[in-house]
């Protein structure tokens, strides 16, 4: 995924990637990444958990605007099923 991300950034489009394998991202060095310590096949979370999926998307966009150093990886501290996502606010996105 990171190799494709690098090609897209190279042509002049800013990118943000969601990683669930940190070691791989460290090797490939895509420009901007959020990392979640979640199972394979679940970068946005669990099926039909809409507030969880929205929270991950919001974190991705926040990181897109926050990262100013090429190759930075932001570790998202979401605790998979133990996290409460219903009160997560995405209002901050309106300021970007």
């Amino acid at each position: 995924m990171g190799l494709i991300q690098r090609a897209i950034e190279h042509i002049g489009i800013p990118t943000i990637g969601i990683s669930i394998v940190r070691e791989y991202t460290v090797k490939v060095k895509p420009p901007r990444t959020i990392y979640l310590r979640w199972p394979f096949g679940h970068p946005l979370g669990e099926p039909l958990k809409i507030s969880q999926q929205r929270a991950v998307l919001a974190e991705a966009f926040k990181a897109l605007y926050a990262i100013d150093k090429p190759g930075e990886i932001i570790d998202i501290p979401f605790k998979w099923k133990r996290q409460k996502y219903d009160n997560y606010s995405i209002e901050e996105l309106k300021t970007f």
């Binding site: 995924m1 990171g2 190799l3 494709i4 991300q5 690098r6 090609a7 897209i8 950034e9 190279h10 042509i11 002049g12 489009i13 800013p14 990118t15 943000i16 990637g17 969601i18 990683s19 669930i20 394998v21 070691e23 791989y24 090797k27 490939v28 060095k29 895509p30 420009p31 199972p39 394979f40 096949g41 679940h42 970068p43 946005l44 979370g45 669990e46 099926p47 039909l48 809409i50 999926q53 929205r54 991950v56 998307l57 991705a60 966009f61 897109l64 605007y65 090429p70 190759g71 995405i90 996105l93 309106k94 970007f96």
Partner: protein, 172 residues
Amino acid sequence: MTTFSRFKNRFISKLLVRLPFLAKRSVAAYHPPESREIPWTPVAKKLNKSIVALVTTAGVHHRDQKAFDMKDPNGDPSFRVIDVTKPFAGLMITHDYYDHADADRDMNIVFPVDRLREFEQEGLIGKLADAHYGFMGHIMGPHLHTLINKTAPEVAHLLKTAGVDIVLLTPG
């Protein structure tokens, strides 16, 4: 690759989800080309004015498109154009190297197009692009060269031509 090999790959992919230490070993054995220079394009537009596209390596494609090649042990470096103006129910996943049973129930966990459509309707992003791109991960050996030098730059060019401002990438 035999039918048995495909069965074995799917079985291993299910184990990797349940046994994280196996997943770590699997990653350690994978050697992508290490990179030094990091490409960089500053974010120039506000989010609520930006056209956003998705690129996924989760093996997503339309049902009427050719499936990714699961018989080649080095993977398949080609891509599929995902037209989100078509019904979402017409999408499927071909990828034996991760367990996509949950993603088959709700494609948004690997390809969050419904969530991005909501963000568009709420005015958080400017517009969801019409065309998105599906690859499969697990590309190795000679196909890495094809991905880096041919198919990934082709998709980058298509996104640029379509006027896309931001690309979000998701794995399987």
